[in-house]
């Protein structure tokens, strides 16, 4: 979903926020289109949550402007902005029932009692919580609280919904289920979602576009495919997926090119010695030859340093003769755990399609290692 001629739902210009001496947000420019599912991805302290709080209005920015639907709201209080937030800890009012929680925003807006009840019931139905309306939040499970928080924010029909790591407190199964539901819900209501997460898989599976944050700046914005397949910096390559970087001498030897390159671990095939245990790796050694960079396929020789069996897949860590370390992920289509384990320490050959080694521009000035502060993440 690209930014069309229509007014963006959210526009950030030169946004900065400092806490004391720590610059949590160091200049962010961003446009989020109407109806988009937009994720802000980054490690702890990268400034993504602070950006969300600046959009919501919980903090005033040190510099820059926030526009919602083209209107400058930089100096407006949270209650004057047409956005709603789903908090990381859900922030449900403990002394109110689920229904009272959901009706809170409507009550503030002086919606009549009948309409309030209807809309709250409808919102609870949309998150599949009808029947629990009279419970207190304390009597709900984590996943249910999460849904109440969603219903409470959605019932007001905001232009933009901000979600601050809403799935972080849920266990894996529930998280995956909620990912699907959230995405379906967003499609259904058509509201712009701005979703903060540190989970790259979550960001990739749910979003129309992703912004990867690093040290208070946006390192890259793009569709999940762009960010994953064409990482703009080594940091993005490492944070979104497993970092497989070839640079310097290794790149020259293996790829015959100058620069830094990223190869995703699942794109690499391990063309090794026979998998039957007992056969020495040495016998394969003569076959191994160095790559031919002009061909469709590139290959490199190395030794398996580590084998991690993970059920459906196996991770191999391979030390290349050229002096780099690559991670290879292979599906266990026909191999058994004993067979893959036997590969540890053996010599192997790795091959991949040449186009899958993607050049990653290294920033001219290395990013300074700023101390991450608790404030920045708050």
């Amino acid at each position: 979903m690209s930014v069309g001629p229509a007014t963006p739902a959210v526009t950030l210009r030169g946004l900065r926020k400092s806490f004391g001496t720590v610059e949590a947000v160091a200049g962010v420019d961003l446009e989020i289109a109407d109806g988009e599912f937009f994720s802000m991805l980054g490690p702890s302290g990268s400034g993504k949550t602070t950006v969300l709080r600046l959009i919501a209005g919980f903090e005033p920015p040190t510099a820059g402007t926030v526009l919602l639907g083209g209107r400058d709201v930089t100096r407006l209080a949270p209650f004057e902005r047409d956005v709603n937030t789903v908090f990381q800890d859900y922030a449900l009012f403990p002394h109110m029932t689920v229904r009272q929680n959901v009706e809170y925003g409507l009550r503030v807006r002086k919606v009549s009692r009948d309409e309030r009840r209807d809309r709250a019931a409808e919102a609870l139905r949309s998150v599949r919580l009808d029947g629990l309306a009279d419970r207190r939040p304390a009597a709900l499970s984590g996943g249910q609280r999460q849904r109440v928080a969603l219903a409470r924010a959605l019932v007001i029909r905001p232009k933009v919904l901000l979600l601050d790591e809403p799935l972080g407190a849920l266990d894996l199964k529930l998280r995956e289920q909620m990912q699907v539901e959230l995405k379906a819900l967003q499609r259904e209501v058509g509201i712009t979602f701005v979703f903060v997460t540190h989970d790259q898989e979550e960001a990739l599976t749910m979003s129309d576009r992703v912004a990867v944050f690093e040290h208070g700046r946006i390192a890259q914005v793009g569709t999940p495919a762009e960010v994953y397949e064409r990482p703009a910096t080594p940091f993005v390559a490492g944070f979104v997926g497993t970092s497989n970087l070839l640079g310097g001498d290794a790149a020259r030897t293996v790829l015959g090119r100058e620069g830094t390159f990223s190869i995703r671990p699942e794109k690499i095939r391990l063309v090794g010695p026979p998998t039957a245990p007992g056969r020495g790796a040495a016998s394969d050694a003569p076959e191994l030859e160095l790559s031919n960079p002009t061909a469709e396929e590139t290959s490199a020789a190395g030794r398996v340093a580590e084998v991690v069996y993970a059920g459906a897949t196996t991770r191999f860590v391979v030390d290349l003769d050229a002096g780099a370390r690559l991670v290879v992920i292979q599906q266990n289509l026909t191999t058994s755990s004993a067979e893959v384990a036997a590969l540890r320490g053996t010599r192997v050959r790795l091959t991949w399609r040449t186009e899958h080694a993607v050049a990653v521009p290294v920033p001219a000035v290395p990013t300074p290692l700023v101390k991450e502060s608790a404030h920045a993440y708050r």
């Binding site: 949270p78 709603n84 908090f87 009012f93 809170y104 503030v108 807006r109 007001i156």
Partner: protein, 304 residues
């Protein structure tokens, strides 16, 4: 039992076991003895020194004093209570005492709420600690010193008078002064529970309320206040009961005002009527029990 495995020498027989270790192991196996050792002293204190004294108070309230010899007559009778209920003086004093305690509680609540809110939610964490210290330090000064300080402040022609525009225009000594000084004395006992309650209130609740469109006033009424009600009640138990039993402040700044405490004091000393003093002392006890029952009914204690 476990001892057989414990006694077995471990490996090379290097297990050196001192008497302390052996005692610990023995205690580990005897849960009942452990519990008894833990609770013996506090239970003794609670039953004998605390509940015992209370029982003596109630029993002696049923005795009387021989008006002629001044000796205590140990025959149970309800005469003392009859006097208290029928004589209008005692009813007036009891009502006045409850009124003073209620006024002190209300004043302290009104001052403590914004103060505690500032401490818990507005002030920076570094300043927060100093504010708590500042609230606590007056408790280190003697009660008497503080009460006499107020006596000087409230004296005819004193600083408070000048504040109101000259000698004699201030409140002077009396009921008002008593309420004022008691409210000052017990304020920390109201601030601290409310502060603790507000500190437990996550900031995100306030943000969520603002996010949903509520201004500060509504957020305070609908979110902050309901959450701190148990804390306010906890504080009110302190301010109310401390005010109800006080008799020193009244003597120092109360002028001719009399509260239940004064009557108890007079009956112990000048009037030499211990049983009647005991009967008077049961009034605040009964009022506090009534108050706690009412609080319990409201369900506020469950959320503590």
């Amino acid at each position: 039992m476990a001892s057989s495995t414990l006694d077995r020498p471990a490996g090379g027989g290097s297990a050196v076991r001192g008497p302390v270790r052996r005692l610990s192991a023995w205690l580990h196996r005897h849960a009942g003895v452990r519990l008894a050792a833990l609770l013996a002293a506090p239970l003794f204190w609670l039953v004998v020194a605390y509940l015992g004294a209370l029982a003596v108070l109630f029993v002696s309230a049923l005795w009387t004093v021989n008006g002629f010899t001044g000796e205590v007559v140990r025959e149970p009778t309800l005469d003392n209570f009859r006097t208290i209920v029928t004589d209008e003086v005692y009813r007036t004093v009891a009502l006045r005492s409850v009124g003073v305690a209620a006024a002190v509680t209300v004043i302290d609540t009104l001052i403590a709420l914004p103060m505690a809110f500032y401490m818990a939610k507005v002030a920076r964490p570094r300043h927060r600690r100093w504010l708590v210290v500042a609230i606590l330090t007056p408790l280190w000064a003697s009660y008497l010193v503080k009460a006499y300080a107020w006596r000087v402040l409230l004296a005819n022609g004193g600083p408070v008078d000048w504040l109101f525009g000259g000698p004699g225009s201030g409140p002077g000594y009396g009921l008002g002064a008593t309420v004022l000084v008691l409210a000052y004395l017990w304020l920390p006992y109201m601030i601290l529970p409310i502060y603790a309650g507000l500190e437990r209130l996550p900031d995100s609740l306030l943000e969520a309320s603002a996010d949903l469109g509520a201004r500060a006033g509504r957020t305070f009424r609908k979110v902050v206040l309901p959450v701190v009600v148990p804390s306010v009640i906890a504080g009110s138990v302190f301010t109310f009961s401390l005010s109800l039993g006080d008799y020193i402040t009244v003597q120092i700044v109360g002028g001719k005002t009399q509260l239940i405490g004064n009557l108890v004091y007079v009956n112990i000393g000048a009037a030499n009527n211990l049983p009647f003093a005991a009967a008077l002392a049961t009034i605040p006890v009964l009022i506090m029990i009534g108050y706690l029952v009412a609080v319990r009914r409201s369900g506020a204690l469950e959320e503590l």
